[in-house]
Symmetry: C2
Subunit: 225 residues, 2 copies
DNA sequence: ATATTTTTTTAGAGTAATCTAAAAATAAAT
DNA sequence: ATTTATTTTTAGATTACTCTAAAAAAATAT
């Protein structure tokens, strides 16, 4: 049985999960400390504690990796975080960029039946408002396909997750079209002769996007609008 | 400014609030300790800490009382607890006897905008699923006049707002009779010899309720059915 | 290959909340 | 008015988590 973990322990496991998802096999003390906004000494203490509990693997000077038990915990936290974010945006009307802090608190509520019912209430979503996938009860998540809207098939739906360009003019242009991170996009048509794309944004009217803009607009594909 | 309180501090304030609502002007160490399932020594330590922070008044051997700051905190916790209970029952489909523990966790989530939006989402309820009033943002609650159906006059109508007993058997019995919070009850008759009561529930057929059950069934009186 | 820098770990201490056991104050009983 | 019982408070220790400062190991530079 997995003994009750503290909020702090859960947060460390989540941080190790996110850091090792970003490539690095072993999570080193310094980056873990930075990610947790604490000192390397504290991170080191906690790493030793989590290793003691068989949640992570750890050898001196070699960094930490999640063991199966720890990974399960981390994925449960991620699942809860993302489900709550969906709730906050879809049901309570928060903007997608206002929900992170609140979800950071809600993710630690301990009640499996609550999460089961919340999941059902939300219609079993597979993606959070930022376009990140929601792990299922077994920790499995749908691999998200990320592509620019000049590459996806006509008829595709997706959520804007990135803009591949820092050009102020481009950002202003997107802003004036009402396109921002989290916007739901439907690709209605694409003109072969100039590569421009016709889309609807958040169920609004059809708008045209030039090839140059379309190439820089990244979405993750969703089944339905 | 009110510095961030720990969950424990919030729980103590809530306990002092509930205990002083039950009559006693000053909450004594022993009953506070019992209510918090801890030792008198711990309760005493915490009382000193809360007094230091000007949340409660306290003199050695004289017990504790909420000061205005502490009362405000306590009422906010109670408000959050009861709003979350409404959410769990009305939106997620929990039974009203399953929600207390989860609400005990949710009540500590810190986000005023979350509670504002939740309140709106729920339609600004004034009562929780147990029939207890929900304080508004200023800590004011609608005082409800309640009585058990063994005390009200024959011919009275009312709405079930509480069951004065946590016994699972009683709750199951009420459930099987179709009696739940919010049920409209008409007291058709009362038998003097055994104190049993004849009622209709939600305009249904007449049913008998034993004295023991009737005593625990609390309603608020309404003019007409 | 040695010196320097960076990273990681240890040592020692602080805080919030908890406990047990014992002392002090108050309340109740004779 | 003492004695007895109860309640409340103190004293001292424990646990989880945190920190600063310094030592040790590893990585990098010369």
């Amino acid at each position: 049985m997995i003994s009750e973990l503290s909020f702090t322990e859960e947060n460390y496991l989540k941080a190790i999960y996110h850091l090792s998802a970003e490539g690095k096999e072993n999570v080193n003390t310094n980056s873990l400390a930075e990610s947790m906004s604490t000192t390397p000494a504290s991170a080191n203490d906690m790493v030793k504690r989590l290793a003691q509990k068989n949640l992570i693997g750890y050898q001196k000077y070699k960094g930490a990796t999640l063991l199966s038990k720890g990974k399960k915990v981390a994925l449960t936290i991620v699942r809860k975080h993302r489900l709550w974010e969906v709730f906050l945006v879809e049901k309570l009307g928060f903007k997608w960029d206002e929900v992170h802090e609140i979800a950071e608190q809600l993710e630690h509520i301990k009640s499996p039946s609550l999460i089961k019912r919340l999941d059902k209430f939300l219609g079993y979503p597979t993606m959070d408002p930022h376009g990140d996938p929601i792990p299922n009860e077994d920790g499995v998540m749908k691999e998200t396909v990320r592509a620019s809207i000049s590459d996806v098939k006509v008829g595709s739906n997706g959520i804007v997750v990135a803009v591949n360009n820092d050009d102020t003019l481009l950002l202003q242009h997107l802003d004036s079209m009402g396109i921002k991170l989290g916007s739901r996009i439907h690709v209605a048509d694409r003109m072969d002769f100039d590569g421009s794309v016709s889309v609807t944004i958040d169920e609004g009217p059809k708008q045209f996007i030039s090839k140059a803009v379309a190439e820089n607009l990244m979405i993750t594909l969703t089944e339905k609008k």
